[in-house]
Symmetry: C5
Subunit: 332 residues, 5 copies
């Protein structure tokens, strides 16, 4: 994959230029933009800062916006300018093992163009690209605001997929917790909880951004397209509800884990108690007749030994039946 | 049951056509609709996609809506079009063992018709059908928006019934927890908690949809009928409150479970401690006089043995009375 | 008590007719209503359905409303009709042991009349009746909306009393938990928690109903009386806050219970550990000199026995002082 | 302190009359009020009901308001009348040990007068009195609404002080929990939690009352003074946040308490386990050679005894080093 | 560092005067203010109260505002006056070890001047100073409201940094909890929780203040600058979300801690139980043959000893294999 791509499309014409950043930036000529087309420039990294800054200046972006593109992002941002809209959000990093690994995405939406800047090479938008190429849906007949919708939709879809991965993990844990009680399961539960916390932190700002877009009164956002952003916001709401529901299920599973831990402790203690309670008194008895007193008449009795053994059997049986009656010998 | 049903009714006339999907779809002629009637077409599965798509096209549904009917549903949806309303929600699957098993329902509400698409064969609407047939209530004198109200009402009723099933299960657990403390009870508690989590996920989107209907300003929704949707929304609110109350009761029951677990551990340990604390010191004493030293004057005393036995009885009785005094021998 | 009562009052005149349902229903003649009076008909059960339906029809109630009076109530309801208002709520059943036992109350508020239907015989409104009879407060100079306010006030007062009963129970538990730690206390705590859950379920719908009354724009509700309903709503808010505060106190008490349980376990284990740790090593020592080896020089020493006893005393005292130093012998 | 005080002040003149209730009530003549002054009558108890009722009637208060002054207060109240405002709230009782002990305060705010009724003698307002006497701040140049602000401010300050007392108690507990783990600490934690619950119940209604004052459109409340009430409401908000933060810290401390309890249990069990695991096997060995079989060749070996002792030392050392390696002998 | 600094800047000119409080206060002449400049006076302590009060009086500040500057701050404050705005907030104290150590900051924003009062010497604003000096960003071309934005931004950045410190601490704990289970980790967890509670208490009032600035309609706040304050408010929201997410992660970690504690207890008990259950019965057996009865035929058998040893080996091996089968000998 190259580091930058230019998609130029209208209803009649579609072109992808997959070139290096420098090339695309210097070739792009804002004055020569054909307003029948939408130009989408997607940059896969920010290494060639010089070329990118040049491009931004050609498009008359504000100095503050340009600076933001290259700085780490603390909070998602929506900024309106007269000639463009500027957004920044965090999103899941492609192929990342955990939701804690995110990357910054910056969008510049202008009249006939849309720039998107990724921190790292990654295929967030392959579905959108395919739609453009195959002309699926409405994307070829719409303006840059619709393209923005499609790109955000693609990002939310990625989060959906990640949420479902968590859901699958939870099912695995659930199966595990029913069959055995390994200690790593709790760690797994807590890991998934943290994934959900991270996902929540990703989704909330996107939802706020979408609310901002819905309420925005800017010529670049066609009012008749606002319901797309509303739909995306509903998706975010439903994602947040899913995340919360998953968190509750994990809570439930850790309860089961703790109870099973307590259960095992009970069983261990019962074994110890039953064994000790039977043999400690018996050991005392045999100890008595192990004493070396000169005058211990029982020792002289011919059936002394047998009597003691009998007594011990009776005591042992009595205690055992007591424990059986209290149900300590069957697992529950 | 056939795979599709057409109900045609007005104040004077009522007809049910219980036919295969293909037949109904090809017979239905939008231009020939008699506006004195409401036509309700209920499809029990989506297998004959071709016929259904044909029908939708005849009714001039948007391409996106048609596509949505056949795709899995991520979030509930309300979409307004000039000539129809389009809804999609999840609902409980008929005869399903758990609230986690849901199915997608799609509704298309037009001027004199209502289409409903179920993913699976199931009797969600037998009560509505009966009302139409027997002309109970207002349904025969009303338009498609009232029919929609009735259908949603039927779905909410199903959730009510499921919620009451959970409530009954909770009563069973409650009875169980008071009589004995089997470990499966906690599992049962957590199972019911998850049922409630799933029910909450079902109800919330329906409530949102109803709020959308209330605020909607569309010719197909008669303003004088809006209070029906408001009533349904109130039902959803009350259902959510029930779900939360049930969840708290389950919380309460798991507290009892844990406390009982701790209680049993205490009892087990008390048995062990009482037995050990009495017999271990006594065993030590008899051990002393089991030593083989040549010069142990006590061993020679004529009453040595009896003295030791007496001392041991006194020690045992003393310890026993100490434990009785501390209340360790009665269960609490 | 009879099954129905008719109160007819104005500023000059007050009459109670305490008769059977049938009698009152057939006697009541809507056309003959004297609009200087308010007629309040209170029915203590719904057994004579025929008479009651007749009365409702005479008052031109909607078919749906009439049906609702006789059906179980799932959710509280406010319905506006041009000639009357219709409410249904759940309330505490008179003399019920637990807040889970509720009954349905239905109200029909018309221009000069108010019907109230109780599911069971019970004295919810004796205070209101007394006010009318003794002409206390404003009730005799006001219309049916003020009577409604008084009736709802009486119901909320019943819930206040119930809440205070819970509060008293909590004080009892509190006293109990400080003096001893019986296992039934936790059960008692959980019982009271469930009472509070049930009370919350009762109060919330009444509060919603009162909000509905406040916002209602109906000729039967005099705007200058709306602050009465607002006051009642504030009472409900404060009741809900009380319920939540009580719930938190119960949470606090169960924490104390669990901690005490853990405390006792610690104490039990300390006894076991101290006894075992002192006597098990000593028993080992006496065991050594109980061995029957032919060549064990210590056994021959004249002071062997006394030396061993001395060593054991030293070991025992050492261990004991160690445990005392670690504070295991004093209760904390 | 006398039972009632009359403060009469304007910018030029200030007078305090510290007399008995009867005297003040009969002397006060509404028609003779000098509107250049504000008359503040503060009653320290409600015993002389007759005189107080007389005063209220002279001031043309509503019958319902008068009745409320003498009845226990269930919920805080704001009532607007054309000629006066009537408030009732709960506040901390002076010098009370716990926030659960509250008293009712009633305020009547008129054009040039303000009545305040305390249930019990107590110095809630000594700061306000001082301000009037010393003419600090704006109080002497303002009307009765500003006086009301000052009185409410004084009450909120009392709650601030109480909240800080709780905060200090929490610091003490914190110090205690770090140095030792006495069981009374948990009780102390729970006591402070309940203080916070009670404080929350006090603050919330005052906040609601202040919101009511802010939104009120009454000639007695000068709009330019509303920001005073807004400031007080912000104080209440911040108090509620403090209360919640304190509650979370207490939660944190009880977690530490429980963990320490578990920690001690672990340590107790480790001592028991180490001692038992070393000496029980050894005791078995010496038991073996204490058996009285006729043919036990080891007993005849000249070095049998020394061999066994050596073996036991090796076993003991092995077990000990195993436990040391597993870290059971150092405290953590 | 001196105790006060005067920054005077416009687009053309920038001057810092780093002088003692007295000097600056007496030199500053409000009438001589050049409105092309913004004068920012930053005071690093409040010790020279007299001079500061003099300055405030020269600037015609309200008596109440002046008093507030020198009093401890209970709640953050925004006050509008015709000629200036007055703010007070708590912020992190510079170089403080814990978020619980805060200091009060007061701001007076006038037409061409801004006063800031710190309780203690500390470098909250070095970044802003640098921007002014190096003329970075817009600060030199803007009025006092923009300077206020920059100062608040600097404070919020400090809180961001503190929050990230907590985040780093959490990562350390996390690493610690995975490798070993020292008891101080829980204390560390609870310490960080309290940091977060304190941070929340800092952030919430600043967020409220910013909301107040956004809604304020005052000539000193340029409407076109309001989006700066909105951006800061969004930062606060995102900070609060971070704080909550961190708190949940700490919750998760304490769960792991408790589970590990329980796990260790289980392991300790298993060791005790396995050792006791094997050796206590065996000790009983050897005790039997240590009895001194005259008639014990087994003792006379030539192979008695070997038989008993064999039996004991069998019993021991049986019990051991039983425990191995139940999985008690492998750690989990």
């Amino acid at each position: 994959m190259k580091n930058a791509q230019l998609y130029k499309y209208s209803q009649e014409f579609f072109a992808v230029q997959n070139e290096e950043v420098h090339q695309i930036c210097s070739d792009f000529e804002p004055n020569a933009i054909d307003t029948d087309y939408v130009y989408w420039l997607n940059f896969h990294n920010l290494q060639d800062r010089q070329s990118l800054e040049l491009l931004c200046q050609k498009l008359q972006l504000d100095k503050l916006s340009i600076e933001s593109i290259f700085q780490p992002l603390r909070r998602s941002k929506v900024e309106e300018y007269s000639n463009y809209l500027f957004f920044q959000i965090h999103t899941l990093r492609n192929n990342s093992a955990t939701a804690a690994e995110t990357e910054k995405l910056s969008f510049v939406v202008g009249k006939s163009f849309l720039l998107s800047f990724q921190d790292h090479q990654g295929l967030h938008f392959s579905d959108v690209r395919e739609r453009i190429e195959k002309s699926k849906g409405k994307i070829r007949s719409q303006k840059s605001d619709f393209l923005l919708f499609r790109l955000l939709d693609a990002l939310i879809d990625e989060i959906f997929v990640k949420t479902e991965e968590v859901s699958d993990q939870i099912d695995l844990i659930d199966a595990g917790i029913h069959s055995n009680m390994k200690s790593h399961l709790l760690r797994e539960i807590e890991t998934q909880k943290r994934e959900l916390i991270e996902l929540r932190k990703l989704i909330q700002p996107i939802k706020d951004l979408l609310a901002g877009l819905e309420n925005m009164d800017h010529p670049l956002i066609d009012p008749s397209n606002k319901h797309y952003f509303k739909n995306l916001r509903n998706s975010c709401t439903s994602l947040l509800e899913d995340v919360d529901a998953h968190k509750q299920i994990l809570e439930s599973l850790s309860n089961l884990y703790y109870a099973a831990q307590g259960q095992r402790m009970n069983e261990i203690m019962k074994v110890l108690t039953v064994v000790s309670s039977i043999f400690i008194p018996l050991t005392f008895i045999v100890g008595v007749y192990g004493m070396n007193f000169k005058y211990m008449p029982e020792l002289e009795y011919p059936y002394g030994y047998y009597t003691v053994v009998l007594v011990m059997i009776l005591i042992g049986a009595g205690l055992l039946s007591y424990f059986i009656k209290r149900g300590w010998l069957k697992r529950d």
